[in-house]
């Protein structure tokens, strides 16, 4: 009976809920949130990256009591927020180059340490700046265990420059450089890399994946990351309505389907070992995820469903579910 009374209509699935005590509500439900990324930015309608960045930095601001410096790699997130001299950032924010955000963050952290300051450092970038162009700098930051949380907002291609493929682009996705033509339409199977697993291979204290599909899960992970020192990595899945060809109001739905079908597993790892996973709540077929995005249109062209290719993606999702034990979460 005491168990049953803890039912709160929507529980913690929504941002807030008047029935929950304030501590259990998301940072995003509070009028006191920092709005680290404020209004007036030039991101597209329904931008998943703008949303993810505010969620992450507001949570980090709360976790550090506002003692935070943010270093940004080049990319959409930098371009749409900061057309000089205007800025959407309501945190101390620093941009240098595409490739060196991790190194600059290392430098800021070293500077803070030498000043005896408790100010913490977050570095952030898109999948291109993180996994391709800035990967050397990032790996260096990891192996030196510098006291930085690096956040990658993964929208699976170079969106700012016109949707070119990156090493995060999934198989079959059409981009400007992987057209849906020929015997292997879209991005090829076997290309790309898994940044969270590579980060884990550095044995750093904390690695996690998160998604704009799950606000509470994301905020919990930022808070957990800010509780520890040393190199930390957070990989956030952020749908891009422009590059993915999804409706602007489907951003969260698309992200949710990616998680629920198993293509984007949510987990936390400490010192190289997966320690927690967020279980799938309502399992979905990958096809439900693909159908909302025009970059996968070629799989459904002319009313025919490309069952064979979809099955290969489904196999990847199934392998994730098995590998990360996503159905039970234990």
């Amino acid at each position: 009976m005491s168990q049953r009374i803890k039912f709160y209509q929507t529980g913690t699935l929504t941002a807030g809920n008047r029935l929950l005590d304030p501590e259990t509500r998301a940072v995003q439900s509070s009028v006191d949130r920092s709005n680290a990324l404020t209004s007036g930015h030039r991101a597209c309608q329904g931008c998943g990256e703008a949303l993810g960045a505010r969620w992450v930095l507001d949570a980090a601001m709360r976790a550090t009591g506002g003692q935070l410096v943010v270093v940004n790699a080049t990319g959409c997130l930098e371009v749409f927020t900061t057309p000089y001299p205007e800025s959407s950032w309501q945190v101390p924010w620093l941009h240098s180059l595409f490739a060196n955000a991790a190194s600059v963050a290392t430098g800021v952290a070293a500077a803070m340490r030498s000043k005896g300051s408790a100010v913490r450092v977050v570095a952030q970038g898109g999948d291109g700046g993180t996994m391709d162009i800035g990967f050397g700098a990032l790996s260096g930051m990891f192996e030196r265990n510098d006291d930085v949380l690096y956040v990658c907002y993964d929208n699976e291609a170079y969106m700012n420059t016109g949707v070119q493929r990156s090493s995060a682009t999934p198989p079959l996705a059409r981009t400007a450089t992987t057209p849906a033509l020929g015997p292997e339409p879209g991005n090829e199977f076997g290309h790309g890399k898994n940044a969270p697993l590579i980060a884990m291979a550095h044995g750093i204290p904390y690695v996690a994946t998160a998604s704009v599909a799950d606000l509470h899960d994301l905020e919990d992970k930022v808070e957990a990351a800010m509780k520890v020192h040393g190199a930390r990595y957070l990989h956030v899945h952020v749908p891009c309505p422009l590059g993915w060809g999804s409706a602007s109001d489907d951003t969260i739905k698309v992200a949710r389907l990616a998680v629920q079908c198993g293509l984007f597993p949510l987990f936390e790892a400490e010192h190289g070992e997966v320690v927690r996973r967020t279980p799938i709540r309502q399992r979905q077929p990958v096809e439900a995820y693909l159908r909302l995005q025009r970059r996968f249109d070629h799989l459904f062209a002319g009313g025919r469903v490309d069952v064979e290719r979809i099955a290969r993606l489904q196999a990847i999702a199934d392998r994730n579910i098995e590998r990360f034990r996503l159905l039970t979460g234990d």
Partner: protein
Amino acid sequence: MDKPFAITLDLGSSRANHTGSWRSRRPEYVDRLPPCNHACPAGEDVQRWLYHAEEGDYRAAWQALVEDNPFPAVMGRACYHPCETSCNRAKIDEPVSIHAVERFLGDLAIREKWPLSAPLPPTGKRVLVIGSGPSGLSAAYHLARMGHAVTVREAMPLAGGMMRYGIPRYRLPRDVLDAEVARIFDLGVHFEPGVRVDDVATSVAEGGFAACFAAIGAHLANRVEIPARDAARIFDAVDLLQRVEQGEAPRLGRRVAIYGGGDTAFDAARTVKRLGAEEACIVYRRTQAAMPAHAFEVAEAAEEGVTMRWLRTIKRFDEDRIVVERMELDEAGRLKATGEVETIEADALVLALGQNVDLSVLEKVDGVRVVDRVIEVDDRMMTGHPGLFAGGDMVPSERSIAIAVGHGKAAARHLDAYVRGEKAKAPPPREVATFETLNPWYYTEADRTSQPAADPVRRRATFDEVNGGLTADDALFEARRCLSCGNCFECDNCYGVCPDNAVIKLGPGKRFRIDLDFCKGCGLCVAECPCGAIRMVPEDG
């Protein structure tokens, strides 16, 4: 001007850039009509009173409930709850047990002796209500709260109508009914029991009444000619239930057959069992599926040992048996007699074949029209005679307590306007919050709470209540299963999911506002609103 090294322009905020100009559609907060409210014949705002109950504020919940219906404890027991049939939660797991929460609130109010809020200042108008059933008392309640001086005349010795003389005690204990009726009379309603109104026009004129609401119900039983050696052993179900309520114990014998398949037939069968009959057998001419009785009535009766014979018509009633003819359905699904007869042992036969209105009271009034054995009323519930309103079982409509209460409420609104020489304004129509307007992802899984039921074997021998109420914990749990369809419950999702920080949170109870300077019209707030309380509308131009 002194500027830091390499800075040549003043730093500005992107808030200078009004991205709202990109927008071609804008989100708009709405209050859609929840399907439960839409389905409630009594016009209850179910979602609103559940909202208070979710917070554990039962007093506020009860206050909101009795705004529309003064009988929560009665309704929570006797209403067939069409609200639950239409509840969107049924598409997730099971409907919210609205009736059980309603009953909990009603019982709590009786236990805590919560009073109804005081009426408005007296209007000086006198109103006559004929009949103290659910419709008459509902009208009396609303009229009294509007400040009118209400007199209720009732032919029977006690108030309640079908709630008292039709619904058996095991479904509606009389102390519950008495308490809710007394609360209405405590508002200053003048009650005259044992007074049968025969001449409405004269009663209204002599009493100085500005208007009258008639709700005398449908008490006359339909009869069929059944050849019988001893007509004294054939009973009408309505009459039987009424006599039992008045303390009589009609001599029925050991085995009783009940003819009919409606709720009254089952009420009669279950009552007969409790009066000591060893066998109570329902005889119904159509199929089991065609029985108009509600499924729970049939199930509870079966638990209590009531037997059923479908597809049988009664031909005659001999000494100690009835002779029935077997019916069957032809290929077109039409009922067809087979000519095969069989017998069912029976000492008494109860007829439950529907009820009619005693039209003699109203049909002689000027302007009143009778259509199909009921009194015709317009959309204001007014008969053809100005100032004479009618409702409940005597007007063209389906018949239930909730419908009767709804008629009383509607009639009160129009009657009030009539005596003021005005016309009641209809509330603006609201779009129904269908399941498709919701985002069900956000609702956590929770199975419906069930009410405790008394042991079927013990039930057969007593008129004690069959179904128990919910505990406070269960009632809270059940209230929180409400999805709040179409009405904001301040979950902060819109505020949280806006990529442009363009939703302004106004604080507890004040909901949200869209900052149109920055809203780009992406629609994420609409898509991620669990309860469908936001919609997209095109920008003008």
